[in-house]
Amino acid sequence: MSPEPFLGDVEHSPVRHHILSVLVENKAGVLARVAGLFARRGFNIYSLAVAPAESHERFSRITIVVDAETAPLEQVFGQLHKLVNVVEISDISPDDAVERELLLATIPTDVDNRTSLLDVIGAANASIVDVDAHHVTVVLAATPAGCDALERALEAHPGVELHRTGRVAVPRLGVPTHEPMRSR
């Protein structure tokens, strides 16, 4: 297997995705409001990550990757902005973003697969973070494309258990973010 796909910060999946970084008030039910809005308006969420934001007490940041084919971005923005708990939305184009995602996987090992598995882990720049006689657990923090590639490679191993966090993103330095519709 060629190691190349793992290395670059280059590849994007073919479906047109958009990344919304949504600053919300850290209040009970806010995630349900956002998720419910996407569900009832028929906007597809590709991935979603939530965590406390810069000022931990008051705000959280939700990073949503939306399938731009299912919903005009302007509609997603407009409807999201109407949620009273949504404070700010940044639209980050994948081309202008630094994106990272975390992948954790536990793979059964034996004498037959150990060498090839170690090759894959090494090529992916993933790390082994846990091990017992019959398994290894690896971690990779990489671009979504990098995680995709490792996922494909690991799927060849029967019994693999794999978790991904969904991506978080920030704009590349020097690229202005645009927020098409602040007003409501």
């Binding site: 039910g29 349900a32 302007e74 009273v84 519709m181 007003s183």
Partner: protein, 570 residues
């Protein structure tokens, strides 16, 4: 001053200038019902929580002030879900207070517990679950602020019983800054560039139409609309939600557009080269098939809700502002159009060829529903407020009543809630007691919420109800006749069951019945003469009568079906 959460809630409502609350008590809201006794706020005890919600809506639509309803937890809260959804669709400012089980019991499936903030998340502008007594003032102040600013809508405040019972040091937020709403920025300023582009589009337009929606009423922009229309002479269509925003008697008025709109209004939109769409949302009942709607028109869209712009129809110019601000700015700029003489000549031909019409009634009856509406209009005082349910009678009321001023047409547009009429009329009468209030209702709708006439009688709210009794769920019957080969499925109601006169009398109202034009005139006269108790008139109308014009669902507005008597070869 240390007071209970319940007292704080009532004091907060008083601070917001609330004069009336429509509600019904129960276990979880019990603490709040005690301080109501000592408050100047009038409480109207409804017979079903749905009635409380629709009354609050009727009050809001008639007065422009937010309507307030209060109910208990669980079934009390779920019973008011329909009015909340209705208010959300029609952008009606509403504050609904629901009781909730005590905080410690939340999540345990306690008696009369339900997750009403979860249930109403998608049908409120916002909702709050109050978690301490000291938060009550801010929650109520924020609820009124959110309900009444920007695009108005319903806000729900869920109050756990133990929060109402605990104490707090009284305070009240002074101004919007203390509401702690970092994500709520309702007002958008007018964009000068877009304004100039709007004026440029208007300047070259030869076939413009002012497509006016409910936002004009919400923004109280009827005077700006009239001034702008009169100077530019742009023809005006008023959607179902905007009836009364522009006088029907005005020479520039074309009436209602849409599925059952006038031929002139529908066709003017279809042939227009420019739509100035103000406070309206390109609803499917107006556009028909969207891809065939106003195919030659550019669009200037004025809306306070930015998410409405480009939602259904791509627009050339977007003015994210309230209707009064935008129309006022266009008027100030002196925006004008090309010469409209040819356009008006064309429109006058449509108006003359295809006016609203119906077959003349027989002297022996049955009555024509349109004739009943015209007769009530003719016999009632100027400024009479009309509420309607949903269905054929609603369309006829919108078509054949003549609306001259804002706040005189109370109806359920977006949600199409049957049973809206009677409670909404009661709420309207509470808000404008000096006005005559008629509810034009159908027999199907009446049976859904008629029990609120008991409320009306008990509370001294003398509304008048005209049941256009055709013994059918008439609009469904019309569709089955036209689109299901006259296979009538589950639409027959029986004109004599229930006996509407006896039912009215049992609720302490005057009950009348009219089968012929003579009886009709007498009954209307009698009803208008009674001003102390509610009146119900059972008008027996022609079962086969249908609403025309009509654009079939999903059809192009070009394929409008006019009244049979106006069709070629008729």
């Amino acid at each position: 001053m240390e007071i209970t959460g319940a007292q704080a809630l009532i004091k907060s409502l008083e601070r917001e200038g609330v004069e009336v609350v429509f509600g019904l008590p129960g276990g979880a809201i019990l603490p709040v019902y005690d301080p109501i006794i000592d408050s100047p706020i009038r409480h109207i005890l409804v017979r079903h929580e749905q009635g409380a919600g629709h009354m609050a809506e009727g009050y809001a639509l008639a007065t422009g002030r937010p309507g307030v309803a209060m109910v208990t937890s669980g079934p009390g809260a779920t019973n008011i879900v329909t009015p909340i959804a209705n208010a959300h669709m029609d952008s009606t400012p509403l504050v609904v207070v629901t009781g909730q089980v005590a905080r410690a019991a939340i999540g345990t499936d306690a008696f009369q517990e339900c997750d009403i903030t979860g249930i109403t998340m998608g049908i409120t502008k916002h909702n709050f679950l109050v978690s301490s007594a000291s938060e009550i003032p801010r929650a109520i102040a924020a609820a009124f602020h959110i309900a009444t600013t920007g695009r108005p809508g319903p806000v729900l405040v869920d109050l756990p019983k133990d929060v109402a019972q605990s104490t707090m040091e009284w305070w009240y937020p002074e101004g919007v800054g203390e509401l702690d709403l970092p994500g709520y920025r309702p007002l958008a300023g007018l964009d000068e560039v877009e304004l100039a582009r709007a004026a440029a589009l208007l300047a070259t337009s030869e076939r413009p139409v002012l497509y006016v929606g409910g936002g004009v009423l919400k923004a109280r922009a009827h005077e700006q609309l009239r001034a702008f229309a009169e100077r530019t002479r742009i023809p005006v269509v008023t959607t179902l939600m905007a009836r009364g925003a522009f006088p029907d008697s005005h020479e520039l008025a074309l009436g209602m557009p849409g599925m059952h709109g006038t031929y002139a209004a529908v066709t003017a939109l279809q042939r227009a080269d420019l739509l100035l769409a103000v406070g309206t949302r390109f609803d499917d009942r107006v556009t028909g098939r969207v891809s065939a709607f106003a195919p030659g028109a550019k669009v200037i869209h004025v809306d306070i809700d930015a998410a409405e712009i480009n939602k259904i129809r791509r627009v050339e110019v977007a003015l994210r502002a309230d209707a009064a601000g935008a129309l006022g700015a266009l008027e100030e700029m002196g925006a004008t159009t090309a010469n409209l003489d040819v356009w008006w000549k064309e429109i006058r031909t449509w108006q003359e060829s295809y006016p609203l019409t119906y077959d003349p009634p027989a002297e022996a009856g049955p009555l024509r529903p349109q004739q009943v509406i015209e007769s009530i209009h003719a016999a009632s005082p100027e400024g009479t407020v009309v509420a309607a349910g949903v269905g054929q009678h609603q369309m006829w009321a919108s078509q054949f009543w003549r609306f001259e001023e804002p706040g005189t047409w109370i109806n359920s547009g977006g949600a199409g809630t049957m049973g809206f009429g009677v409670p909404a009329a009661i709420g309207a009468k509470v808000g404008r007691p000096e006005r005559t209030v008629w509810c034009i209702d159908g027999d199907g709708c009446f049976q859904m919420t008629a029990q609120e006439l008991t409320t009306a009688r008990a509370e001294g709210i003398p509304i008048k109800v005209a049941i256009l009794n055709n013994a059918y769920l008439g609009m469904v019957r019309q569709w089955q006749e036209m689109f299901y080969e006259e296979r009538y499925s589950e639409v027959y109601l029986n004109a004599d069951l229930p006996d509407y006169v006896k039912w009215a009398e049992a609720m302490g109202c005057v009950g009348l019945r009219a089968r012929t034009p003579d009886e009709m005139r007498e009954a209307i006269e009698e009803a208008n003469a009674i001003n102390d108790v509610p009146v119900v008139v059972d008008f027996r109308t022609d079962t086969s009568e249908k609403v025309f014009p009509m654009v079939a669902a999903g059809a192009s507005n070009d394929d409008i079906m006019v009244h049979p008597s106006q069709r070629r070869g008729a």
